[in-house]
Structure formats: structure tokens, C-alpha cells
Amino acid sequence: MAFPSPYKIVPLGENAVVILWENRIDTGLHKTVLTIYRHLQAKMQDVIIDLVPAYSSLTVYYTPEKAISLKPPATSLYNYIRDRIEKSIALVNETADETNTIVKIPVCYDNEYAPDLANLTREKEMTRDEVVNLHSSRIYTVFMIGFLPGFAYLGEVDPGIATPRKRTPRPVKAGAVGIAGSQTGIYPLDSPGGWHIIGQTPVSMFNAQKHPPVTLEAGYKVQFYPISSYEYKNYQEGSAG
């Protein structure tokens, strides 16, 4: 298959553009997004100041005051940036190698840490162990970081445990592990949220004092493993696999 998959570039104001692929969740498409993300990050440092890789889009933020000194006089800034991105993408001919490292994250699925697990098992007509097994047996991809600092959108969960997000958000604790649609994720901070909480990790997903302050980044592989409430309470940061 030709690389990359068909895309279009559209402006988001006068200081950002969005590179859009087909609007669907697909790991192949996502690999393309990450490849282009890393490529542009390295090759267009002279004008690009920020990038947001997502499921099937890449938003690129640039500084018009820098681009103005680089662009040909007759071209608009947008056209200049779009052309450079297109030319840059044309030089990439395959998806980058995937990382083989899997970040293993302990999760306590006990009742006291899983306010929505009982409902989910009832609704799915499964036992608690079945839900926990389905959730912890898959290796997930971090599709993107968004919503909160360090909030990783992981996917996709087994269709057997996928469930639409709640209608009304309520307060969720940092470390809560939730499911929304076919996604699973970990709340890095206390926040209102609409995901179904099925467990809690003692691993911090965001720490402003550390560099980088986030534990996960787009493209990382993640697997959960169940721990007891005793292990949860005695967990020491840094002992994650």
C-alpha cells in the first residue's frame, strides 16, 4: 500500500493546520500519524512550535512571525506551511519501527477502587474475573494524550467490555482506570469525568516535578495487570514493570 494513506491539510486559524486522515480508529492509520508526527517534529523545527498527534489527525502549530521571514514573497503563510508539510511527508516512505517496550501498569480491580465494575459485569452478564481478564490481557496502544495533562487514550478494549460513556460526569480520582466506548484510560489528576471506573492504579501518570512530567506518550504500548488491595496500598513508585 502506498505511503502515506490519503490525507488533507486544512487551516485552524492563521497559526495552525490540521492534517486529517480518514475519521476512524485504526492502528495502521495511527502508525502513519505517529511517523509523520516524528518526522515533522524533527524536520520543521524552524517554524513548528507544537504538535498534537491524535487518532487519525495531526495538528501542527507554527509561528507566523517566523514563517514570514522564510516564505517566498508571493505565497500566503498557510500555503507556505502546507507546501512544506506536503514536501516533507513525500520524503517519508514507510512507517517508523514500533516500540517493543510495553509499560506494565498495576491495577487494583477490587470493589473499593472500582465503583462502576459491578454495573458493568451485570450489564455484560460476565463475572468480575472475566471483565478483569479481558481488560488486562490486551496490549493497548496510546493513541493520544489529551483532555488532562498526561491523560492517555488507550485502545481498543475487547468489544465485550466496551460501553458508552456516562451521560453525566462526576468526580473521579487521580489513578482511576476507566472505560468509555472502545477506549480505556487512566485519570492522571482528580477531575470530573464520564468514564466507567473499573479500577485504580497506584502509579502516577502525571508529576509536575519530574521530567518528563507524564508517564505515557502517544505510541507507547501499555498492559495492565491486576493487584490486590494490599499490594495497592503498599505499592512503591518506581517498582512498575
Binding site: L12, G13, E14, V214
Partner: protein, 330 residues
């Protein structure tokens, strides 16, 4: 010694031009809501436009200036007073130690900025002084300013010229940017998802800023006709992105917006118009007009060039004033 918060305001925080380059970690730029006013406050006192400022709202804080300094107040008019005497905005003010800065009433606008030539001694977090409330990091301990907080200055300077007075305005000022009646917007990535009728409504309707309007975003009371459409996968957003909610209502994303969102981005407010939007308050009206990409770029660059000229002008004025009025202690 420097400045002391005597009574906190409704939401006083340290901001700058934002934390750039960390959106891929979910850390948004934040920064001053009205970046034009924060930049001008800095330029008036001889700082770089990216330096730290205090962003305040009304009710505003009561602050004691404990160390002689040059400060400037810009943005909203909250009737600033120094020891009870009205103090001008958009003008550098030489203020003696132990002077009280108070704001009497809201006349116009919703956020004011205070910059100091002596510069606020706050640490950088990820290359920025801005307060990220969600992360609890940046600015002053990652939070709003509270009563009893004492913020140090980075520098101490000695000035002549304060004879028999606790403060004086220095003899130059900046004219704020004019406020547009209509806000220029560009079509967003999902503009085409709107029906023809909704596209017309976006430009023809007058919208009202709802009471849900804060540093994260402004919800508007009126909406657009919506037709059921596909679901957007979460994707990057920006300061000024106008999102369409499923019920047709609109949200304008402001400085503390999330880095990504799943609502269609039907339009984007041009950067040059954001300071005016940032000064609007609940109940005020807003109208949109689509402009061309080239026009938006021209506006951005002309505002940027104007800022550069202002900076040069302010630095020249300040340098010649300092030559006569600043001294090094023996």
C-alpha cells in the same frame, strides 16, 4: 520584600505568553487571556513581552507594593488607585515602597494585567511562568494568589523623582488597540459539516456570552441549526477554536482549553481578535464575520509588528528617563 497580597481577588494568577511545545503531553499553553494587554504592560516597563504578569479579574485584589518599583496596569479598567488616588492605565508608574494598590469598580473589560520592571521572582515550569491550575504547576505554586502571599522581585532598583509623593506617572503612554465591533473568524476544519442555513446563521446571528465563561472557554447562549452528523474523533484545538455541541450551541475555547476535543471545530477566531474576546463578560454580545486566510495573516503580522515598534519606543523612553532618574546606591 516586593509585593504583598492583602486581600485576594476572584482569580488572580501569574501568567505570560504561554507554555509552548508541550501539547503532545496534554499540557496546554495557557497564558494570559488578553495577550495584547499583558504584552503592552511588560513593554511599558521595559520588559520583554513574554515576561510574567499578574492577571486579575473583578473583584480585584488589594496589593501592597512593599518595594519601590516601576509598574504598569493594562487591559480592563477596574478604577485602579494608589493610596486612594486614581492611577492611569497604559502608563508606567513609579511607585514608592509601602503604597497600596486597590481597584474600586469595574468600568470596562474583564481582565487587567500588572507588570513590574523589577520582575516577579517566580520559577519557570516547562519554560513558562504561566499558572496551570489543572496541573497545579507553574506561576505562584501552581495556584491563584491568596491573602498573605508575598511575591519577591528579581531586581532592586533605586530611583530619584519621588519627592513628596508616593507615586508618579512617567511621561509616556501607549494607546490600547481599538476593539472591533465584529469578530473575524476563519472556517474551521469541520466548517463544511454545517448546513447552508447554519453557515449563514454563524455570520448573521448575534450571540450572547453565557454565564459559563471562564479561562477555559465561553459558552454562548444561542445556537445553530444542527443536522445529525458523524462523530469526530478527538483532535487538536486552539485558543479561539469555536466548537459545535450536539445541541447546536457553541463554545469558544479560551486560554486554558484542553489540547484536544471531539466536538466539530466549525470556526477559529483570528489571533488578532482574541484580546477583544478575552475582555468580554457574560451577557455581552458577539458577532462573527468570516474573513480570508490572507486577511487573518495580515492582521496577525501587523499586530506583531506594531508590538515590536511599541517595544522599541517604550525602551527608548524608559532608557532616557532612567538616565536622569536611576542611581546605584553607594
Amino acid at each position: 520584600m516586593s509585593i504583598r497580597i492583602i486581600r485576594k481577588g476572584v482569580l488572580d494568577s501569574i501568567q505570560d505568553t504561554g507554555r509552548i511545545g508541550y501539547r503532545h503531553w496534554g499540557i496546554n499553553p495557557g497564558g494570559a487571556m488578553d495577550t495584547a494587554s499583558s504584552a503592552i504592560a511588560n513593554l511599558l516597563v521595559g520588559n520583554k513581552k513574554e515576561d510574567a504578569v499578574i492577571e486579575i479579574h473583578f473583584p480585584a485584589p488589594v496589593i501592597t507594593i512593599e518595594q519601590t518599583c516601576i509598574l504598569a496596569i493594562t487591559g480592563a479598567d477596574f478604577s485602579a488607585t494608589l493610596n486612594g488616588e486614581p492611577a492611569p492605565l497604559y502608563q508606567p508608574l513609579l511607585v514608592a515602597a509601602d503604597t497600596e494598590l486597590r481597584f474600586k469598580q469595574r468600568v470596562k473589560g474583564s481582565r487587567a494585567y500588572i507588570a513590574f520592571r523589577e520582575q516577579l521572582g517566580v520559577p519557570l515550569w516547562l519554560n513558562s511562568y504561566s499558572t496551570n491550575f489543572k496541573a497545579g504547576a507553574g506561576g505562584w505554586n501552581g495556584r491563584t494568589l491568596q491573602g498573605k502571599d508575598v511575591l519577591p522581585f528579581r531586581h532592586t532598583n533605586n530611583y530619584r523623582g519621588l519627592t513628596n509623593r508616593v507615586w508618579q506617572a512617567l511621561p509616556w503612554h501607549v494607546v490600547p488597540f481599538p476593539e472591533p465591533d465584529i469578530i473575524n473568524i476563519l472556517p474551521g476544519p469541520e466548517y463544511e459539516w454545517l448546513s447552508d442555513a447554519a453557515q449563514r446563521q454563524l455570520e448573521e446571528k448575534e450571540f450572547t456570552i453565557s454565564t459559563t465563561a471562564d479561562r477555559m472557554g465561553y459558552h454562548l447562549n444561542e445556537g445553530l441549526e444542527v443536522t445529525p452528523s458523524q462523530q469526530l474523533l478527538s483532535s487538536g484545538t486552539g485558543f479561539g477554536t469555536i466548537q459545535l455541541l450536539p445541541d447546536g450551541k457553541l463554545i469558544i475555547l479560551m486560554a486554558d482549553h484542553q489540547v484536544s476535543g471531539g466536538y466539530p471545530r466549525i470556526a477559529q477566531i483570528v489571533g488578532a481578535a482574541l484580546p477583544a474576546v478575552a475582555q468580554q463578560s457574560p451577557g455581552e454580545k458577539i458577532r462573527f464575520r468570516i474573513c480570508t486566510q490572507e486577511y487573518a495573516e495580515k492582521l496577525y503580522l501587523s499586530q506583531w509588528q506594531h508590538m515590536a515598534i511599541l517595544g522599541t519606543g517604550c525602551n527608548l523612553k524608559l532608557a532616557s528617563w532612567l538616565e536622569k532618574n536611576e542611581y546605584l546606591p553607594d
